[in-house]
C-alpha cells in the first residue's frame, strides 16, 4: 500500500545519506517535490505515479549531489598540499632531531619505491587515467561528468597505489637481504644492504599512508557517500 509521506521520508533519507546536502537544502527540495506532486494530483494522477514523476523530474540523487558539490569545494588545493607537507615535515624534523637525520635519506631506496609505484600504476591504468585521477583528487570535481563509474576508477588507481607502495617496501626488504647476502665477504657492505631493506619499507609506508590514502579521501570528500 503506497503511503505518500512514507515515500517522501524515504526519499529524504536517501538524499541525506547519499549526498552532502544539509537539512535546509533538502527542505527546499522537498518543498519543490511536494509542489510538483500537488500539480500532478490535480491532473488526476494517483499518488504513487505523481510521486514517481516528481522524483524523476527533480533528478537522480547522484546527479543532484554532484551539482550541489560543484559549489562546495570542501578542501582547497592549498590545504591538501600544506597538510601533507606538514606531515612530511614533522617526519623529517623527527628524523633530524635524533641527530642522525641523514641516515633516513637513501636515494636508491627512494627511487626504488617511487619507481615501482609509478611503473606499476602506469602499467595497470596508463598515464592518462593516473593524471586524470590526480587532477580530480587535487583540484576537485571538474567540468566532466563525475559519474560513480569514473569515481570508482579514480579510487581504484589510488587503492592500487596504496598497495603498490607497501608491496615495494616488502620487495625492497628482499632486495636488501639479497644485497647483504651477496656481499657477506665484505662487511662494510652489510650496512647498505640493511639500509635498503628497512628504508624501502619506511618510504613505502609513508607513501601509502600519507599520500595515497589522502588522495583517495580527497576523491570522496566532495560527495559524502556510503562508498
Amino acid at each position: 500500500m503506497f503511503e505518500l509521506n512514507h515515500a517522501i521520508d524515504a526519499w529524504r533519507r536517501r538524499l541525506d545519506q547519499d549526498t552532502a546536502l544539509d537539512a535546509d537544502e533538502i527542505d527546499e527540495l522537498e518543498d519543490h517535490l511536494r509542489m510538483t506532486i500537488d500539480a500532478r494530483l490535480v491532473c488526476g494522477l494517483d499518488e504513487q505515479e505523481a510521486f514517481r514523476q516528481a522524483a524523476d523530474r527533480l533528478g537522480a540523487t547522484h546527479l543532484l549531489a554532484r551539482e550541489y558539490a560543484k559549489g562546495k569545494q570542501t578542501m582547497t588545493l592549498l590545504s591538501k598540499v600544506s597538510g601533507t607537507a606538514f606531515a612530511l615535515g614533522l617526519l623529517a624534523l623527527a628524523a633530524a632531531a635524533g641527530g642522525s637525520g641523514s641516515v633516513f635519506l637513501h636515494l636508491p631506496s627512494l627511487l626504488f619505491v617511487t619507481g615501482l609505484v609509478a611503473g606499476g600504476l602506469w602499467a595497470a591504468f596508463g598515464p592518462a587515467l593516473v593524471v586524470d585521477a590526480l587532477k580530480v583528487s587535487l583540484r576537485g570535481p571538474d567540468g566532466q561528468s563525475q559519474t560513480p563509474e569514473r569515481r570508482e576508477l579514480h579510487l581504484a588507481v589510488f587503492r592500487r597505489g596504496y598497495h603498490l607502495a607497501w608491496a615495494s617496501g616488502v620487495v625492497g626488504t628482499i632486495v636488501g637481504v639479497i644485497l647483504m647476502l651477496a656481499n657477506l665477504a665484505d662487511p662494510s657492505q652489510l650496512g647498505s644492504g640493511i639500509a635498503v631493506s628497512l628504508l624501502t619499507v619506511l618510504y613505502g609506508a609513508v607513501l601509502a599512508e600519507l599520500v595515497f590514502r589522502n588522495l583517495s579521501q580527497w576523491v570522496r570528500t566532495p560527495l559524502a557517500t556510503t562508498a
Binding site: 527546499e28 518543498d31 519543490h32 510538483t36 550541489y68 559549489g71
Partner: protein, 112 residues
Amino acid sequence: MISRKLVAASTGPLVLSILSHGPSYGYAIIQEVRRLSDGALEWTDGMLYPVLHRLEREGNIHAEWQVSRSGRKRRYYRLTASGEQSLAGERQEWATVTRTLENLWGESPCSN
C-alpha cells in the same frame, strides 16, 4: 533541444531577469521559464537550486525562508542591488552577441 552549453549559459541571466520582476521561489521560476519559452526551455528541476545557491553566494540574490499559504516553509529569492548591476551587464553582453549574430545571419549572399 537546446544545447547544454547554451542552457547553462542562459540560466543565470534568466533567473536574474525573472527575479527583477519580483521575489520568487524555485518552483515558480522553473514554471515561468517554461511558460516564457513555450516549453523550449525545460530545466531539470534539481539543477536550478545549485544555480540559485551560486547566485546567492555571489551576492546577486538574497534568500530567506518564509511560511507559505499552506503552512510549509518556502525559500524565497530576491534580486540584490549588486544583482541588478550584474543583470545590466549580462543584458549588454547578450545584446552584443545576438546583434552580431543577427548581422551575420541577416546578410544574404546577394546583398549589394
